[in-house]
């Protein structure tokens, strides 16, 4: 099961981030913010290096011109499906004022033209229980790393390819929700699965990518995704125009345990165990992955890892301030009560039938080395060091590379010339 073969080379990676050239002013904010150094500015325009991009969306909010846009599906898309079902990430529940509850949000979505609305939080609850069983039965290697954040998964595949076997092979709640809801609708409406279109409403560009190009299976159960930021205004007006009797308060009640998944530390608090840690943000993720790689974290069994600070509620496509959304989620949890809605015995049975597992393990996707032949690669590495030692090492970025080290790399790759370093040429000119 654990093949360590890197994915085939020359795969084209699908990305949901697009740079609008006409808007881009080449101000390099995105280049400096990118955690995998996947952006270069050439001839005044930003470009994304596809191989390195992990779709975290940091660049979207960094751009003062709004020139970087997520390629989620437009809200108005006319559907080719007979039945359209919206499945919002539970993040959506925390985006409105505290008087607007999930049943009103569901009714609002129906007003926008969805035939059905499915709740993903109960799938989150099921996965919490499945996770607990997994931790009971797993024998190593430790610690295991959560699988739900696709930006983290891609970050590990690219930067820590040796750690993919630490990623928990459990399905992510959103896919489980889509699968269960589609199968149920197909039975209920007597419709073939192809005629049911499931759309995910998300705060996360990386999830939009994982729906088009999943890391762990052939095909996602979703048929598209819509950014919460895009649907926010029309949805808010739809909710405001609801009249009494247009929604029922007791239907489709979400799970409070499930909603907690979207807030940093949510899965850990359900596990109630002293050896689980929740980590977010690129700096802390890098630290903890470095430690796991050298097997330093001996006391830790489970790492909940999300790319966005504060978890999914802090996603780049969310509308509400992440800290406020966190408080609102806590209020919703109180409202719906943190007792389990699912029977653990039933989950245990489905678990052992394989219901909650990924179709395949996450594979490494290491960065292409300097050269496919390691001997030549080492030689280029030394060349790069030599070039780097000639550079100012102030990472001014004027050459269009985020750091002097990436500049040196682009020179040995033949993409730039050493004379492209503006800092050095100014220094030369001003020295006698």
């Amino acid at each position: 099961m654990l093949e360590m073969e890197p994915e085939a080379e020359n795969i084209r990676y699908y990305h949901t981030l697009k740079i609008l050239e006409e808007k881009c002013q080449g101000r390099m904010r995105c280049m400096r913010k990118c955690p995998t150094q996947a952006i270069r500015v050439r001839r005044g325009k930003a470009h994304i290096l596809e191989e390195l991009c992990i779709d975290c969306g940091e660049c979207i909010n960094a751009c003062p011109e709004g020139a970087i846009v997520p390629l989620t599906d437009p809200v108005e898309q006319t559907s080719k499906f007979k039945c359209r079902v919206a499945i919002p990430s539970p993040v959506l529940y925390s985006q409105f004022s505290v008087d607007i509850h999930p049943p009103e949000i569901f009714a609002g979505l129906k007003k926008l033209g969805f035939d059905y609305v499915g709740d993903a939080s109960s799938a989150c609850e099921a996965m919490s229980m499945a996770l607990r069983i997994y931790l009971e039965e797993h024998t190593g290697p430790w610690p295991v790393i959560s699988s739900f954040c696709p930006a983290v998964i891609r970050f590990i595949q690219v930067e820590y390819p040796g750690l993919t076997e630490h990623i928990i092979p459990l399905e992510v709640p959103r896919e489980l929700a889509a699968k269960e809801i589609k199968l149920e609708l197909s039975r209920k409406l007597n419709l073939p699965l192809e005629e049911i279109g499931a759309i995910y409403l998300t705060s996360c560009p990386a999830k939009a990518v994982s729906i088009r190009q999943p890391a762990e299976k052939e095909k996602s159960w979703f048929n598209g995704s819509i950014s919460i930021a895009d649907i926010y205004n029309p949805l808010l007006s739809a909710i405001m125009s609801l009249r009494e009797g247009e929604f029922e308060d007791d239907l489709n009640q979400p799970s409070a345990i499930g909603m907690g998944w979207k807030v940093l530390g949510g899965t850990c608090s359900f596990l109630e165990s002293g050896n689980c840690v929740a980590v977010s943000g690129i700096v802390e993720l890098t630290r903890i992955l470095d430690d796991i790689e050298k097997s330093k974290l001996r006391e830790v069994k489970y790492v909940e890892a999300s790319f966005c600070p504060e978890g999914c509620i802090g996603g780049p496509l969310a509308v509400e301030n992440a800290y406020v959304a966190r408080v609102k989620t806590i209020r919703l949890e109180d409202r719906y009560g943190k007792r389990p809605r699912l029977q653990e015995e039933r989950v245990r049975q489905l678990y052992h039938e394989g219901h909650y597992f990924l179709e395949r393990r996450i594979q490494p996707r290491p960065i292409k080395p300097l050269h496919p032949d390691i001997a030549k690669s080492i030689a280029l590495m030394k060349e790069k060091e030599k070039i780097y030692n000639l550079l100012p090492r102030v990472d001014c970025g004027l050459c269009g590379c985020p750091t002097c080290l990436t500049f040196a790399e682009d020179v040995v790759k033949g993409l730039l010339d050493i004379s492209d370093c503006l800092y050095n040429s100014i220094r030369r000119r001003s020295s006698p």
Binding site: L163, K368, P369, I374, A375, I378, A379
Partner: protein
């Protein structure tokens, strides 16, 4: 062997500096990743150099780590000036440790270091002299030089 295709690096490790411990391992790891060694080879180097660094930090005044890598093999030599190991056979047993309570309180000294290095290497040689120091040589076979 063509010199260009041989990586040859040297790092100093300061005894007692728990704050910096692990830096050499992290640096080597990122170099090997970039060169394109197999991820599992990189992992083995990361683990064994980290453990070796920790041993110097815990039990020696100073040490030097010499790192050599060719497409086929990686060799790491760590020499330290320190207390030395009295009984190497015992030190190789999992769970055996001479760490002080203070080190254990910091989460170190679980007696997994040397066995862990051995487990992650293809060749493992250790010599030690009481009161002078320890020399450890670790070899990891990297493969045939092509990417797997």
């Amino acid at each position: 062997m063509n010199d260009d295709s041989l990586l040859d690096l040297e790092f100093e490790i300061i005894g007692g500096d728990f704050n910096q411990a692990g830096r050499v391992s992290t640096r080597l790891k990122s170099i090997l990743k970039e060169v394109g060694f197999n991820p599992q080879v990189v992992r083995r180097v990361a683990i064994s150099t980290y453990e070796a660094e920790m041993n110097v930090v815990m039990y020696a005044r100073r040490g030097v780590l010499r790192f050599k890598a060719s497409p086929q093999r990686i060799s790491i030599v760590i020499e330290d000036e320190g207390q030395g190991i009295e009984n190497i056979e015992m030190a190789m047993k999992e769970g055996y440790s001479t760490a002080t309570d203070e080190m254990r309180e910091m989460g170190f000294g679980a007696g997994m270091g040397l066995p862990n290095i051995k487990r992650n290497s293809d060749r493992f040689e250790i010599t030690s002299e009481i009161g002078k120091g320890t020399r450890l040589k670790v070899t990891i076979i990297a493969g045939d030089g092509t990417r797997s």
